[in-house]
């Protein structure tokens, strides 16, 4: 299976139609069976294609979105559904905001090659800014099937909370898809402390798709990466493919037989010691 992490760098965002054409071209280039777009993709397209009357600050973007949300979400999701069906791939279109019972959730979903939604996931851990903006946390992490693989979705700073990856791994995750957005800066270490660390302690594959774009006074940039356990990557780095921040995508093929052999040889999850974890429940 070939996986791709897209950053939206270089994608034409001037209108949904231009976006579709531009994204299609990049997706074809990746030759991926499964592609993941970064966090805030819906917000970025809405902002860049003139859905806002003025140019608000980033936090205002998030605040002003809800009133027009339902209609925009429908448009945003349907254009990605059509793309997934047209290209015959699994597609995670990045993230969008959803209002449910007056709670705002930061969500991602996955379309199958027929263009149907096969999974929806809410962000489960919020950073300080997201909490101040009034977002609510999702309360479950569920797996879905992509071919023979069991797959989970993580959003934003879920990546930095190892409980998320462990829960997915204990449910049997083979692959974790992450939609992220980090402020531009030295992010190689925070990325390593996030998804890379989750992969190494759970022995699954991961696709890390961080946003590379500028929006409402904020600049986002980080490296798109396809991760695997160190032992089964060429230089033992844990990076099957890692590109520079600003590159449009990273793509790589996974060898599931090699991962299964590693798990048998070095069963990390089998060496957990849950008898010692009693106090975690109350921590």
């Amino acid at each position: 299976m070939r996986l791709a992490a897209l950053t939206l760098s270089g994608i034409n965002l001037s209108s949904p139609a231009e976006y579709c054409l531009s994204l299609k071209k990049t997706l074809l280039e990746t030759e991926a069976d499964l592609a993941v777009l970064p966090a805030y993709s819906s917000l970025l397209l809405a902002f860049s294609s003139g859905r806002y009357d003025e140019s608000p600050a980033f936090c205002d973007l998030l605040n002003e979105m809800p009133p027009r949300l339902e209609q925009w979400n429908e448009e945003f999701l349907s254009l990605h559904s059509e793309l997934a069906a047209e290209l015959g791939l699994y597609l995670v279109p990045g993230t969008y905001l959803e209002v449910c019972n007056q709670n705002i959730y930061h969500c991602a979903c996955c379309f199958n090659p027929e263009g149907r939604v096969i999974a929806v996931q809410r962000q489960t851990h919020l950073n300080r800014e997201e909490r101040e903006l009034g977002f609510s946390r999702g309360e479950e992490l569920k797996l879905f099937k992509v071919g023979e693989l069991k797959v989970g979705l993580l959003i934003g700073c879920d990546a930095r909370h190892p409980e998320t990856g462990r829960l997915l791994a204990l449910q049997g995750a083979d692959l974790v898809l992450h939609c992220g957005a980090l402020d531009a800066g030295v992010n190689c270490w925070s990325q390593a402390a996030g998804i890379w660390a989750q992969v190494q302690q759970n022995q699954f594959w991961a696709v890390e798709a961080p946003l590379c774009a500028s929006m409402a006074g904020r600049i986002f940039a980080a490296a798109p990466i396809i991760h695997g356990p160190c032992e089964i990557t060429q230089d033992k780095s844990g990076y099957l493919c890692r590109r520079y921040p600003g590159d449009p995508y990273a793509a790589g093929n996974i060898n599931e037989a090699a991962r299964q052999a590693l798990k048998k040889r070095y069963p990390l999850l089998g060496l957990l010691n849950p008898h010692a974890y009693g106090a975690l429940e109350h921590s």
Binding site: T124, H125, L126, N127, R128, R131, R137, E139, E140, L141, C157, R160, H161, P162, E163, T164, R166, L167, L170, Q171, G185, V186, W189, S190, A192, A193, W196, A197, Q200, Q201, C230, D235, K236, S237, G238, Y266, P267, L268, L271, L272, N273, P274, H275, A276, Y277, A279, L280, E281, H282, S283
Partner: protein
């Protein structure tokens, strides 16, 4: 058979005599300083030293003691208030066993039972415990007391009754043994040796912050550091002995990500080198949350080379750590996810 047992008993008695604490005390009396005042704790600047110890086999336990003293003396000269020794810190003393220096496949457990040796690693550790451990206790108690510092003496494979455990020890500036910690997550090799795993993590409140000393593989699991953080631990002292060829990324997988996930400081000491068919690699280092390192690397100090003797020294600021914890930019808790995770643990 009877004769073999008799020889074994006699040899063990010889080792007990050779390692006797009284002999060590006499030796140290002429070596250790006697007028060093304990250091004053400043929570904004606690100097810690992580030792990288080259594995050498000793035929005389006093040579081992002298080398340990040199290391502590050097760390003290550099201003260290907490000194950390590595995992399997008694292996150099196994040089006293006949034939160990000629071994070429270490104590590695063979894969097939047909290759199983007559003596298992567990047998050797059990055999050495009565002689070695009183010696170790005396040595590190005296060193801590003489220099007025905290010493995490590393970890030791030892017999505790009928159980084999991998246990680390912490000594206070008065030379008192403050406590011990059994390794909670075992390597597959240790599982094969039928080692008993610990079932909790302990912490020690000191004038230099709250300390804990998980052992090596414990740092592979985020759960360890979450538990330490919940106990208010500021500094995790981690002894390691990695049986693998050095690779930057493989080495990064232990304490570094754990320190990032659960905001605390980490001090890693490493046993390195070749002996008795073992090859250990690793760099001693001192780690902090990215937010508390000027280059955002999460590394305060690290030795340059994964082989040979070395020392890493750095200052830790516990007040800055508390500030980060209370105003953390991205940390969050999700009780629903934690509940589901705990249910998943129960199914294991």
């Amino acid at each position: 058979m009877l004769l073999d047992r008799l020889k074994e008993k006699l040899f063990q008695r010889y080792l007990v005599w050779l390692f006797r604490p009284a002999r060590l005390r006499r030796f140290l009396k002429g070596e250790l300083p006697c007028n060093i005042a304990p250091m004053v704790a400043d929570k904004r600047k606690i100097r810690v030293a992580a030792l990288q110890v080259k594995l050498e086999l000793y035929k005389n336990p006093l040579h081992y003691a002298a080398r340990a003293h040199e290391r502590v003396k050097e760390a003290h000269r550099l201003g260290a208030q907490i000194v950390v020794f590595p995992e399997y810190n008694s292996l150099p003393l196994f040089g006293l066993l006949p034939g160990v220096d000629q071994m070429d496949n270490g104590l590695n457990t063979p894969n097939s039972s047909a290759e199983k040796p007559a003596i298992s690693p567990a047998d050797i550790f059990n055999f050495m415990t009565p002689a070695v451990m009183p010696f170790i206790d005396t040595l590190f108690s005296r060193l801590a007391s003489a220099y007025g510092i905290y010493i995490m003496a590393g970890s030791y494979p030892l017999a505790d009754g009928k159980d084999l455990v991998n246990r680390s020890f912490l000594y206070g500036p008065g030379g008192k043994l403050l406590g011990s910690q059994d390794k909670v997550h075992l390597l597959p090799m240790e599982v094969e040796w039928k080692m008993k795993k610990g079932n909790c993590f302990r912490h020690f409140n000191t004038g230099f912050g709250t300390l804990a000393m998980p052992v090596c593989m414990d740092a592979t699991y985020f759960e360890t550091f979450r538990l330490l953080e919940a106990d208010g631990v500021d500094i995790a002292l981690l002894p390691i002995a990695n049986l693998e060829e050095y690779n930057y990324w493989l080495a990064l997988r232990g304490i570094w990500p754990r320190v990032q996930e659960s905001a605390l400081y980490g001090v890693k000491s490493a046993l390195v080198g070749n002996a008795a068919g073992f090859t250990f690699t690793g760099k001693a280092g001192i780690f902090a949350p990215l937010e508390l390192t000027s280059d955002h690397s999460g590394v305060l100090a690290e030795t340059e080379n994964p082989c040979g003797d070395a020392i890493a020294v750095a200052d830790l600021n516990l007040e800055a750590l508390q500030d980060l914890r209370s105003e953390h930019p991205w940390r969050d808790k999700n009780p629903a996810i934690l509940k589901t995770l705990n249910e998943a643990y129960r199914l294991l």
